[in-house]
Symmetry: C2
Subunit: 260 residues, 2 copies
DNA sequence: CGCGGTCCTTGACCCAAGTCAATTGGCCCA
DNA sequence: TGGGCCAATTGACTTGGGTCAAGGACCGCG
C-alpha cells in the first residue's frame, strides 16, 4: 500500500546494518514520511484527529523498519522502547511457555499497533515476527508520550488503540475458551475477511499468511485439525481452499457455523 | 481494607438511588477519600508517582460505588464513561456470545483497573459483576484524561495499567490455547496465591470467590472437570480443598504440574 | 534436474475432557 | 423443621480432537 509512496530509489538503497542483538535487529531505516501523507491514516494513530493535532502530526515523522519474512521485530525479554505500527505486510505475535510450547496470540495487519505489551514491565512479553517482507513504523515510546501529552486527541486516540487490543484479546479468550474447533476456524476466516475488506482487499478471496501449524496455534488446536476442517468446509461448499489461497464461497454458511 | 477509613457514619448513611438502567446501577455514593490516603496506593493508579504528581493526586477525590454480591458494575453494550478501580471485594468480567454462551475473562482484585474495554467503541464489551459485596472507585474517563494530560507520570502509569491488562490477557490466551486441564487449574491456583500474597493475604490459604462453573468458564473447561482435578490434586497432596476454601499444601508440586 | 526440506492432507487409532445422571450436603426461609 | 434449591462430587459412557504415520505437492538449491 503505502510502500509505493515511500519506496523511492533513495529509500531502497538505504543500507541495513544488522545489530549484534540476539533478535538480529536492523536499524530503523532512514525512510521517512509524515503521518499526514500516510495512506493508513484512517486506521492508524492520527485517525480521527481534528485540525490542530493533525497539523502537529503533519510535521511528525517516524523512522521505519523493514523486515524480511521470518525476521523478528522484537523478542520477549528485550527492552521496550517503542511501539510499532504495521505499514505493509503481516506480523504475528507469539508468547512462549518456558518448556518451549508457544501460542500465536495475534496476526497483525497494516494500520495495527504492536508492542504495547512491553510497557508494563519495560520488557516485551512476546515475540513479533514478520510473516512477509514488511514495513513497520517505529514510534519511540517517549516520543509517543510527549505527543499524547501535548495533544489531547492524540492521547485519546492512543487510549483507544490500547482498548482495541484489550477487546481483541477478550474475543480471542472467548474463542479459545468457549468455541469448538469448527467454530474457531469459521470465526477466524470471517475475521480475516472483515479486516482485509477494511483495508481494501477482497472480502472473499485472500491468501493466508500463516501455515496450518500457526493457524492451529492461534486457534488452540493442532495443524491436522485445521487441515481437516478446511477440507470439511470445502466439501460443504463454504470455501474453496488451495494451499494458502482461500475463497469464501458462502459467508452466510460460515456465519452459520459459528452462530450455532 | 480502605473501606474502614471511609466507612464513617455519614458515609454509610448515604442513600443509594437505583437508576432505571437495565444494569440497575447505583449512583456513585458521596463517599470520598483522596488517593493520597488510600491504602491501595502502591497497587493503584498513583503508584510510583513522584512528588509533584502525587501532590496533585493528593487533592484528587473520586466517588465510590458499593456493589452487593451479584450486582453489575457495568454491562456489555452500556455507554462507557468511566474506568473503575476495585477497592474491596472481587469482581469478575464476562464476555458473551450471541447464543448465550459466556466466558469469564477475568477475576479482579483490589487495586486492579476495570472497564478499559469500553474505550475502543464507547460502549463496554463485557459485563463486570461483583462476587462479594464490593467497593469500587469510579474514575470518570474525562477526569482521567485531564489528569493524565496534566501530569505526565499519571499518563505513564495509566499506560502501564493498560499494558498490564494486555499482558494478562496474553497469558490467558496462552493458558487457554496451549495448556491441558490440570496445568490450567494449577496455573490458576498459583496465580491466585501470588496475587493474594501481594495484597497481604496468606499465599497458601484462601477462599475461591468463584463457583466451579465460573472457574471452568475462566479456564475453558466444564465444572465437572474442575471438580475432578481439585479432587485429584487433593489425593496427590498438592492441596486441601473444602468447598471454596483452598489450602495449598505443596506449591512446588503445583509448579511441577504446569512446569511439565 | 533431482534431492532434501517444509507444508499439507488423510487415515487409523486413542485418550482427555465432555455429557449425562445420581447423590450428597448446605443453606435459606416458609 | 423440613422442603426446595443450588453447588459440588463422582461414576459411567461418549466423543471431539489429539497422536502417529504415510504419502504427496511444492519448493529452492547444489
Amino acid at each position: 500500500m503505502l510502500a509505493q509512496l515511500l519506496a523511492t530509489p533513495e529509500l531502497d538503497s538505504v543500507a541495513f546494518r544488522p545489530r549484534s542483538e540476539y533478535s538480529a535487529r536492523t536499524e530503523p531505516s532512514a525512510a521517512q514520511g509524515s503521518c499526514s501523507g500516510c495512506r493508513l491514516q484512517e486506521l492508524c494513530l492520527p485517525s480521527g484527529l481534528s485540525e490542530r493535532p493533525l497539523r502537529e502530526f503533519a510535521a511528525v515523522v517516524f523512522p521505519h523498519r523493514r523486515l524480511k519474512a521470518g525476521q523478528a521485530l522484537f523478542r520477549s525479554g528485550e527492552i521496550f522502547d517503542a511501539v510499532y505500527l504495521v505499514r505493509t505486510g503481516f506480523v504475528k505475535t507469539v508468547v512462549l511457555l518456558e518448556d518451549g510450547r508457544e501460542q500465536v496470540t495475534g496476526l497483525h495487519m497494516p494500520g495495527e499497533m504492536l508492542g504495547m505489551d512491553g510497557l508494563a514491565s519495560g520488557r516485551h512479553a512476546s515475540d513479533a515476527i514478520a510473516l512477509d517482507d514488511s514495513d513497520v513504523c517505529v514510534v519511540p515510546y517517549d516520543r509517543l508520550e510527549t505527543l499524547s501529552y501535548e495533544a489531547r486527541e492524540v492521547q485519546r486516540h492512543l487510549h483507544r488503540m490500547f482498548s482495541h487490543e484489550i477487546v481483541r484479546e477478550q474475543r480471542m479468550m472467548l474463542l479459545l475458551g468457549s468455541m469448538r474447533a469448527e467454530e474457531r476456524v469459521s470465526a477466524f476466516l470471517l475475521n480475516l475477511s472483515e479486516r482485509l475488506t477494511a483495508r481494501g482487499y477482497s472480502p472473499s478471496d485472500f491468501v493466508l499468511r500463516l501455515t496450518r501449524e500457526e493457524i492451529g496455534s492461534l486457534l488452540g488446536m493442532k495443524l491436522e485439525t485445521v487441515s481437516r476442517i478446511f477440507s470439511k468446509f470445502q466439501k460443504a461448499a463454504l470455501i474453496e481452499i488451495d494451499g494458502k489461497h482461500v475463497r469464501i464461497v458462502s459467508i452466510e454458511g460460515l456465519r452459520g457455523v459459528v452462530g450455532r
